[in-house]
């Protein structure tokens, strides 16, 4: 996913604890998110969900499957 690109969450392949955490922060299947930036190749990713900006470590971000809008 490129910077400033929007996408929809297709799937979250994580355990239930992390699923719940994502859920409570507003990341769930069908939710639209916008990528803001990432640091380095395997660094954290900043995304915008609703009105909040979240930073996800690389491993966590990898668990979210996105369908990007063009």
């Amino acid at each position: 996913m490129k910077e400033k690109q929007k996408g929809t969450v297709l799937d979250i392949s994580a355990g239930s604890a992390l699923q719940n955490k994502f859920m409570s922060m507003g990341i769930y299947k069908g939710r639209e998110i916008t990528k803001i930036s990432h640091i380095g190749l395997k660094g954290p990713v900043a995304i915008k969900v609703g009105r909040s900006v979240l930073v996800l470590g690389h491993g966590v971000a990898n668990k979210i499957v996105i369908e990007s809008h063009d």
């Binding site: 859920m23 922060m25 769930y28 640091i39 009105r51 930073v55 491993g59």
Partner: protein
């Protein structure tokens, strides 16, 4: 009848500011998630009734994912529902995400009202919320506030009596979000605005290059400002007061006590060339107050002023993102930078702030690295005082050695400590212009905390040392450790007293090195050794409370090994 009010809400919505407004109890608040790690209690007078108000750490849901969040669920569960009330603090700029917790609270059958905080900021962002329809839809009281200025708090208090249970059916996570979507549709209107400078800066600070550029610039400027303010406070205020007003008093007192008397030894200490030397006399009325108020306090003030600014602007979580990669190498993730920065002020709040880290392994690594590799501001001020008169190389040398230790020890711990380290997952707050009122309050609280905690300990430390020195009780002890101190570290055997004292209180320990007439190499090694060992008795206590005896023992062992190794290495490498 309501006996207790819990303040519950997402991280960084201003719970602590509301708490201060309700109870008058002053607490530290900042612009990042996880400032409050301890539960704060205070009282609110409502009519003729006193109600206990409890400020809880921020949480996104009632299913906890860190130690700080765990507390919330368990406290809410163990209370009887008809005696408590929950004020759910909601960030008006981010109503949607905040409502998730609100719905969970309602589903849990808790009596809830909403304090819709940061209403002024929401207006600036072009967010308008229809409060009446929100009240109607949820069926509970909603009071708009701006806690920083205090507006709306009076209404909030008046409407506490309206708090009631408004049960909602339990629903799945998905349905909850769907319900929230419908609520938002009805109550929230957004006016579109163009990007302003602040938002451009916000974006720039989470991008790799511009972000690193901004971060390095901010850190460098902060360091320079801390030094500038600290130096000037010392040379323009503290030193003149001590030398022009205080010293003449002591000079009159000295002959009254008699130079050879025990009391003179205790209060004034030794005369250096027939004069009182605040740095070397080592008396209860001379060196003790001078260390605390003329050497350390000025830096405490300047450090916490700058830290408070950084905290309130909201720059720290952005550093967390930029440093995430690096911190992963030592078994932590980016957020650990916040406890570390707090540790640069004082290790105790630094170790407390590790509660925001999710796993025990992370907490152990972070707490150990903080207590060994992060010098507190009191120690840094003393090192500056000790080595400042030599070339700047020595002062930066201490930091460099500590940084190397920090990284090497971190990598080693990352490969040896068992358990898992979760990944960074944190919300980035918008940049905010710091409210001067909260900034001053926070600075005042921290300075007060330092004076109350440190001053008696420093006096006690100097007292103990003086008594022991007078009766020559250290001799056996110094003889015992002489081989290590002299043979390995190249320090005179008297330095052992300072090193041991260092475990009790660092500033006193450095103060004890000053009369020893050490060479600059010896001063350098002693400063590094003092920096490595745990900063003070309070750190031991808080480490024990947070991580237990076994981990404290482990960390202490690691500390001894690191100190032994580094001291010896430096002694044989430096010429």
């Amino acid at each position: 009848m309501i006996k207790k009010i819990f303040l519950v809400g997402n991280p960084n919505v201003g719970k602590s500011v509301v708490f201060s407004r309700l109870t008058g109890v002053q607490v530290i608040s900042s612009n990042y998630a996880g400032t409050t790690v301890e539960i704060m209690r205070g009282f609110l007078k409502l009519g003729d009734q006193e109600i206990e108000v409890i400020d809880l750490p921020g949480t996104y849901s009632l299913e906890p994912s860190s130690k700080a969040e765990e507390v919330v669920g368990s406290l809410l569960n163990e209370s009887t529902k008809d005696e408590i009330a929950v004020i759910n603090i909601v960030d008006a700029t981010n109503l949607e995400r905040n409502l998730y917790l609100t719905l969970q609270l309602l589903e849990a059958g808790l009596p809830v009202m909403i304090c819709l905080n940061m209403c002024d900021e929401a207006r600036h962002h072009g967010v308008s919320i229809d409060i009446h329809s929100l009240e109607k839809i949820l069926g509970i009281a909603v009071v708009p506030t701006c806690a920083v200025t205090g507006s709306g708090i009076k209404t909030l208090v008046e409407r506490i009596k309206e708090i009631k249970i408004k049960p909602r059916d339990k629903s799945s996570h998905r349905n909850r979000w769907q319900a929230i979507g419908e609520i938002i549709e009805q109550v929230q209107r957004l006016t579109h605005r163009h990007h302003n400078l602040r938002e451009l800066l916000e974006d720039a600070s989470v991008r790799p290059f511009s972000g690193a550029f901004i971060a390095i610039g901010v850190m460098f400027a902060s360091f320079e400002i801390v030094r500038f303010i600290g130096e000037n406070l010392i040379s323009r205020i503290a030193d003149p007061i001590f030398l022009n007003f205080y010293q003449p008093l002591l000079i009159k007192l000295s002959p009254l006590l008699g130079e050879e008397s025990f009391l003179h030894h205790l209060l004034i200490g030794d005369l250096i060339n027939g004069k009182i030397d605040f740095k070397q006399s080592l008396g209860l009325l001379t060196t003790a107050p001078y260390i605390e108020f003329a050497m350390v306090l000025p830096y405490i003030i300047s450090f916490y002023l700058v830290l408070g600014l950084l905290e309130d602007i909201g720059i720290l979580p952005r550093l967390a993102m930029l440093l995430d990669n690096l911190l992963h190498r030592i078994g932590l993730h980016g957020f650990a930078i916040i406890p570390v920065l707090l540790g640069l002020g004082c290790n105790v709040p630094g170790i407390l702030a590790t509660r925001n880290l999710e796993s025990r392994r992370e907490r152990f690594i972070a707490a150990t690295l903080i207590s060994i590799g992060i010098p507190c501001v009191a120690l840094q001020a003393m090192i500056l005082g000790l080595l400042g008169e030599y070339s700047g190389f020595y002062v930066s040398g201490v930091y460099l050695v500590l940084l190397v230790i920090w990284v090497v020890l971190g990598v080693v711990l990352n490969h040896t400590v068992k358990g898992y380290s979760p990944e960074l997952l944190v919300e980035i707050p918008p940049y905010r212009f710091p409210a001067l009122s909260t900034l001053w309050k926070k600075l005042f609280l921290r300075i007060k905390g330092f004076v109350i905690e440190a001053a008696p300990l420093v006096l006690l430390g100097v007292l103990i040392i003086n008594v022991l020195l007078y009766f020559k009780l250290f001799d056996l002890f110094t003889a015992l450790f002489a081989p290590v101190i002299k043979g390995l570290f190249g320090l005179p055997k008297e330095a052992v007293v300072a090193l041991v004292m260092g475990l009790f209180r660092k500033d006193v320990a450095v103060g004890m090195l000053m009369p020893l007439a050490l060479s600059v190499k010896q001063l350098f090694i002693a400063a590094v050794l003092l920096a490595i060992s745990f900063p003070c008795a309070a750190t031991f206590v808080v480490f024990f409370k947070e991580l237990g005896f076994k981990d404290l023992l482990k960390a202490t062992l690691i500390m001894c090994v690191v100190a032994l190794f580094t001291g010896t290495l430096l002694n044989f490498v430096i010429h």
